[in-house]
Symmetry: C2
Subunit: 250 residues, 2 copies
Amino acid sequence: MRNIKLIIEYDGTKYCGWQSQKNGISIESTIKSAIENIINEDVKLIGSSRTDAGVHARGQVANFYTETKISSEKLPFAINSKLPHDIVILSAEDMPLDFHARYSSIGKRYSYTLLNRKIPPAIMRNYVAYCPYELNFDLMKRAEGYFIGTKDFSAFKSTGSSVKTSVRTIRDLKLDKIDDYIRFEIEADGFLYNMVRIIAGTLIDVGLGKIKAEDINDIIDSKDRKRAGKTAPASGLCLEKVYYKNEDKA
Amino acid sequence: MRNIKLIIEYDGTKYCGWQSQKNGISIESTIKSAIENIINEDVKLIGSSRTDAGVHARGQVANFYTETKISSEKLPFAINSKLPHDIVILSAEDMPLDFHARYSSIGKRYSYTLLNRKIPPAIMRNYVAYCPYELNFDLMKRAEGYFIGTKDFSAFKSTGSSVKTSVRTIRDLKLDKIDDYIRFEIEADGFLYNMVRIIAGTLIDVGLGKIKAEDINDIIDSKDRKRAGKTAPASGLCLEKVYYKNEDKA
């Protein structure tokens, strides 16, 4: 028995998300079919993160158990030959049998990209969220630090997920502005449901002057979802990297 | 009579290029229809640059004559309401009657983006050219300077265009590398047919070690198209900006 870890890049635009749903085609089922087509076995594909419809990934991680003899070097090319152009396997690696893409993860990094101008985007329109109202980047930049640390992020969680605790540790949050694009990367030990998109929506409200950076502590303490910003659009979100312990060991 | 200058962004993926062709829908004809729909006049749309199929633009410029009373502030929103999502008018401006998007131009700036890794792109795949063979960025970087200056670029011109002279002045060429992406911007007083894509193909050959940076002078002097690199794919190319004299005057 082998346990294969895949690193996956995808354009989530046309999918109902990572996980299979009643309506729409999922990324998970598309990759599962391609693997089964190549190795002639039924597999169960375990993803690290259930990205929503329209969310992208440069570094999604999944694992599956198999008896195949195909080397991990050759697997990406073989599986990619059966995948549509908007999903690619970047790498495959043999892991210890107890490796689990979701439960072994010790952190994740997401990016979120906003286009801030009056006219909607023609180029890259599936990879950004678009805000037509002028955002004050300096105010947004000042909000960065208030999110960092170990806190109960209940106010930044959509209902619909059952998790034991809403305490998460945000290790890093950095905003940048290039021309009309505002982009941030955020890293934490884990994220609650829609947490990055609600942080994005809150940062937009800070940029609009609706929320003061200094009030973010209060919003977090309130644990009240209604006090944080809206859930920003899926298109701006991208899962950049999933972290594991002892990543150099296999 | 008014002469309106438009700045246009588009995703060229689905079009046969700027100019109308026998097969496929052109960007020019799509914008022309949208304008005519709004102002109820027949217009002739003059583009600064006849971008090829699959080439994008963040700053294409076009002009047209009209008797409409709609203000230049309102025109972009009105025209955009009749355009598909992959084309947007960024701005409209009243210009002197002798302004001509093509002949009044004094320079252009393009970008070219390469993805250099073994696995093809899933994300941004319509906005990059993909090279699976390892490119030596340092060698490519060293080639920059050899292109700068006023030279006869006949070796970097596809047949099919009739121009009086193949002498052009490249004012700027700069390569950058971020992760697996290699991107350059190039500015000149004007470009020959496919010139940026042939320069991109030549830089790829430099990165592969097929062409030495020092040989670029000889290739230029030879005026021999066969000695330069291949015409790199359209998807990596984007028209960033078109320059005009006295741009602050209207």
